[in-house]
């Protein structure tokens, strides 16, 4: 159609019309979209450690193993995939990754508990479990994971509450874990929660922080006791064997003396006997001989000798002990 522009000139404006599309093309496009939607909502994947729970119009129909599967499209079939083969861990009293200061308060609430002797203990533990029955886990209990945590806490406290603080800290740890596992499984079965408890492991089990030094003191005192005893033992072991050795020595010395004394006596007796036998054969002569022999030996040894005659009178019996030779007789 022709029109006039603002300057009054004749302008030929072409008529704008929507591109002509045949009704068939529209149909094809709609069909394509429908097919794509069909494909998109009728295929799903189940990961290797999962199970696929298939609901048709909300009702459970089947569970599917890992892999690629088909389902009814357009939301008729809904699939919930849930990990069943992978072992899950529930931590109590601590978390593997530190989440901050404010969080540790919550963990303390999880781990403080009373023991059978009405003492207090701080217990950290883990529960390793698997979702064995995904249908039960999803449809029997709401918030299965939280419920399982509540159950674990209740069971642990029941078991710890039946034991002394000593048992929980030392000798009874294995037993507590074993009993908790059994009772937790029993409770899980009652709640139809579909969980298999694999393992319960106690981690750090300690007395409350303010009491810990006193517990350490007991350990130290035990060591002190050991030390005192072995010190005394060492002293004993040092002294007694040595004294036994010395005792031996004393006795041997006495024996030595004895032998010596007797041999000497025997020797002297034998010597006397042979001299005496000789003497008996010629007594006077032997006596004289021995006497004179002795004098021969002895007199030269005497440093100062004075020989006086009894008949000589007038000689002053003056004895000069000053060292000079004595004045001789007349």
């Amino acid at each position: 159609m022709s029109q006039q522009d603002p300057f009054g000139n004749q302008v030929n404006i072409p008529r704008l019309e929507p591109p002509s599309v045949s009704p068939n093309v529209i149909l094809y496009v709609v069909a394509l979209i429908a097919v794509l939607a069909l494909l998109g909502t009728s295929i799903y994947q189940v990961e290797p450690d999962e199970v696929g729970v298939v609901l048709r119009f909300g009702a459970y129909v089947t569970s599917t193993p890992p892999g690629l599967h088909a389902k009814l499209p357009f939301g008729i079939d809904q699939v919930e995939t849930i990990e069943v083969r992978r072992q899950k861990t529930a931590e109590f009293g601590f978390r593997s990754q530190q989440t901050g200061q404010f969080a540790s308060r919550a963990f303390a609430d999880e781990s403080n508990m009373l023991t059978g002797d009405l003492n207090a203990a701080v217990v950290e533990w883990v529960v390793q479990y698997r979702i064995e029955d995904p249908v039960s886990f999803l449809f029997k209990v709401r918030n299965g994971t939280d419920t399982f945590r509540d159950m674990s806490e209740a069971v642990m406290r029941e078991v710890v509450g039946d034991r002394t603080v000593n048992e929980v800290l030392t000798v009874g740890r294995q037993e507590v874990a074993a009993v908790v596992k059994v009772q937790l499984q029993r409770l899980s079965d009652l709640y139809e929660i579909g969980i298999r408890v694999d393992q319960v492991v106690l981690q750090d089990v300690t007395p409350p922080p303010s009491v810990k030094p006193a517990f350490n003191e007991v350990n130290e005192a035990e060591q002190v006791k050991s030390r005192l005893i072995s010190e005394a033992q060492a002293e004993y072991n040092q002294v007694i064997p040595k004294s036994r050795g010395q005792a031996q020595q004393t006795i041997l010395a006495a024996e030595g003396y004895a032998t010596d004394r007797i041999n000497r006596a025997k020797g002297e007796a034998a010597r006397f006997t042979s001299v005496y036998d000789q003497y008996r054969q010629a007594p006077e002569v032997t006596r004289k001989r021995i006497y004179l022999e002795t004098m021969r030996e002895v007199l030269p040894e005497i440093g100062r000798k004075v020989v006086v005659d009894d008949d000589i009178r007038g000689l002053l019996p003056l004895l000069d002990l000053g060292g000079n030779r004595a004045p001789g007789g007349q």
């Binding site: 609901l55 119009f57 909300g58 009702a59 508990m113 009373l114 002797d117 009405l118 999803l138 449809f139 029997k140 209990v141 709401r142 419920t147 029941e158 509450g161 039946d162 002394t164 048992e167 009874g172 009652l190 709640y191 006193a214 517990f215 007991v218 035990e222 006791k225 005893i229 005394a232 002293e235 004993y236 007694i240 004294s243 010395q246 005792a247 004393t250 006795i251 010395a253 006495a254 003396y257 004895a258 007797i262 025997k266 002297e268 007796a269 006397f272 006997t273 006596r287 004098m295 002895v298 040894e301 005497i302 440093g303 100062r304 004075v306 020989v307 006086v308 005659d309 009894d310 002990l321």
Partner: protein, 314 residues
């Protein structure tokens, strides 16, 4: 024109269909209400269902076990010890129709449960001693080698125990709930946590510390006692060994001396003659041993030795 009308009719039919169909999933149960009043029986089986469109309303209720968490409350036990008790329970809606008519919704259900469960818990705690609430059995505790025989490592005996009390609590609560006609049932109730009140905690810790220190003292004194016993043994044995050795030595010496004396006597003492001769010999020997350069001696010419010097006839 016909086509458009057909299309419009189809659309309308589709709309009607869509608004009358509804899905009941596995975890839900449904009551249909019409103009505010329930119609028919509750629908508990899952699947695709249909209702009168626009008029009927679908009221959904969870079919699963639901949570109830009791607040931590301070409750006195029979011996008037205040403790902090934290319980939890699991319950479910068994009759959604009854539930709808009596309780209407979850929050009122929870507050009704509060009343019953808190009440039963308070009763259970107040009627029993603390030991009964903590302990379950009368078992013998396992002993640690470091413990003394007469130390109180046995647990005080109980008559009921935690589990019995809990079962009683559960049974009472179940009965109360059933009698109300609320359409719900209680599955389980548990003591999740029981703890001392803050100020009691301090005195409990003090008791534990004192107990540990007593054990530590015992170890130390045992150590000292044993050590002095060993030292005493050491002293005693030492004396024994030394005195025994001395005795034996003396005996040996004595015997030897006696033997020597006998040998001498045998030799010297056999007759008067031998005695005299022995004396003579011994005297001669002693002359040899007793004189030296510094000895002064005054000798007479009368002596046997010197007489020949003045005598002439011999």
């Amino acid at each position: 024109m016909q086509r458009v009308a057909l299309g419009f009719l189809l659309l309308l039919a589709g709309l009607v269909l869509m608004s009358s169909a509804y899905v009941v999933p596995e975890w839900e149960q449904v009551v249909i209400t019409r103009f505010g009043k329930p119609v028919g029986q509750p629908i508990t089986t899952p699947g695709l269902k249909f209702r009168t469109p626009f008029i009927d309303k679908v009221r959904r209720f969870d079919k699963r076990f639901l949570e109830w968490d009791g607040k931590v409350t301070e409750i006195p036990t029979k011996e008037k010890r205040n403790i902090l008790v934290d319980t939890y329970a699991r319950w479910r809606i068994t009759d959604p129709l009854e539930f709808l008519e009596s309780l209407r919704d979850y929050s009122s259900a929870l507050s009704r449960l509060d009343g019953i469960l808190n009440g039963e818990t308070r009763d259970a705690v107040a009627r029993h001693d603390l030991a009964e609430l903590i302990r379950t059995t009368d078992r013998e505790p396992a002993q640690d080698e470091s413990q003394h025989q007469d130390e109180t490592t046995t647990l005080e005996s109980i008559s009921l125990g935690r589990e019995t009390i809990r079962q009683e609590l559960l049974a009472n609560a179940k009965k109360q709930i059933a009698s109300q006609g609320w359409g719900i049932e209680l599955l389980d109730v548990q003591f999740k946590r029981i703890n001392y009140v803050e100020d009691v905690r301090e005195s409990v810790f003090a008791r534990m510390i004192a107990e540990r220190q007593r054990i530590a003292d015992r170890f130390r004194s045992e150590g000292e006692g044993e050590a002095s016993r060993i030292r005493g043994d050491k002293e005693r044995e030492l004396k024994e060994i030394q005195s025994e050795a001395y005795r034996q030595a003396q005996e040996i010496v004595g015997t030897a001396d006696a033997e020597a004396t006998r040998i001498y006597a045998e030799a010297y003492n056999r007759s008067k003659d031998s005695r005299e001769f022995y004396e003579f010999l011994k005297t001669m020997e002693s002359y040899r041993d007793t004189v030296d350069k510094d000895t002064w001696m005054v000798l007479s010419t009368d002596s046997d030795f010197y007489r020949f010097m003045v005598e002439s006839d011999f």
